[in-house]
Symmetry: C2
DNA sequence: CGGCCGCCTAATGTCGACAATCGACAGGCA
DNA sequence: TGCCTGTCGATTGTCGACATTAGGCGGCCG
């Protein structure tokens, strides 16, 4: 087991992230340092340092001398974030297109089937979980640390957006065809097609969320 | 005139950035909070918050309970950073390819000529400055806030890398042809060619710096 | 003589208090 | 009545001190 150092700051980041996922904190809400500090039983210093990280990840909106707020994202900002993720992941997958074994391609198809399965049961939590696994495997071949850094950070932001609307986005068959399209593009080994498919995958979701 | 609030944290970020640019701080050096605080005549709190921002921008390497250090980037990490910038900017330019007026294309060629000019005079500071102007104009048409956010952050990191080696990278004619290739691809209006050209532009520079 | 163990120092991590600033509200003036 | 202005409360920005920990140094033991 990997030992990870958990400084208060990291715990605060995790705590706020959970608040965002569960919906206890919604767009427009203010994060008051005193309140968070007393709730967690610590002082404001680690809170403020955690804020810096959340701000840089786009999870919190900072207004000098006023406070930290949960961002109210405009439709365009939502699409922008998804598009950027698509650009990054599309390149990452395209670059490593010939490193996927047929077993791994089958795993991807397996995960797709599982997503369809859970979607039919309206088990959205599992759909999201398997979906994350799918995309993790997709980019697992790439070792561009800078690109992965940005991709992972965007994941957090998009994950929150997605969870705010899960269940209302895609039907089971749509989920299936959307992900199968990616696997098929991978099988084709056509770099341009792969990159375009992954991009479109994200832009489409971004647009859907944006128009809600 | 735009009034900008300058909190201590922001000033610290700027200060450290300057130290990095001037080379007063080099790879491997430790940033001691006490030292910085006393040098700037402030307490450690704003210093630590500034560190968070620098860490997230990849300008500082954080080791828990040990300290903050200027990163020693491996050749691969350097290439990764440049590649990522190329992917982002390549997409940004490609997407806005039909929004450039012929006057603006001429401006780009003008800037290219100026770069050649200053490069011949070994005026590297101006080459970098005009180069920044060139790329600013290139991505100025794009309004994807998320993509611009990441692009700008990477700029800081790459700028430092570039300034550590200026003068040893390209000859005047190379600078000219490298940038002219971008303008020509823009003129062609071929999306794939534009994106590929900009990508290659960055990957090439990354590789050059990496092998020094 | 070499390796292991415990102390010590110097750095980071955290705290509670004070200062500065913004936004809201109430009061006064035209 | 409507707008401007001064005050007030709440929240962020900053500070100096204390707690904690990593890594180096010296001594002890085999």
């Amino acid at each position: 087991m990997k030992i990870v150092r958990k400084t208060y700051k990291d715990q605060v980041v995790g705590h706020v992230y959970q608040l965002l996922l569960t919906g206890e904190l919604g767009p427009g809400d203010q994060l008051k340092e005193n309140l968070l500090a007393s709730q967690m039983g610590i002082s404001r210093a680690p809170i403020r340092e955690a804020m810096q990280e959340l701000i840089m990840n786009g999870l919190v909106d900072y207004r000098p001398q006023v406070g930290n707020f949960i961002p109210i994202l405009s439709p365009k900002q939502i699409i922008d974030s998804y598009t950027t993720r698509g650009v990054l992941e599309g390149y990452a997958v395209m670059e490593t297109r010939n490193q996927f074994s047929s077993a791994e391609l089958e795993t991807l198809e397996n995960l797709t089937a599982q997503m369809e399965h859970f979607a039919e049961q309206l088990n959205h939590k599992m759909v999201v979980e398997i979906g994350a696994e799918f995309h993790d495997l997709l980019i697992s071949k790439n070792d561009n640390v800078q690109l992965l850094e940005y991709t992972n950070r965007l994941s957090l932001k998009l994950h929150i957006l997605f969870c705010r609307h899960w269940g209302t986005l895609y039907s089971a068959t749509e989920i299936g065809s959307r992900h199968r399209a990616i696997v098929e593009s991978l099988r084709s080994q056509d770099p341009d097609r792969i990159e375009k498919t992954v991009r479109e995958h994200y832009v489409e979701t971004g647009s859907k969320i944006a128009e809600l």
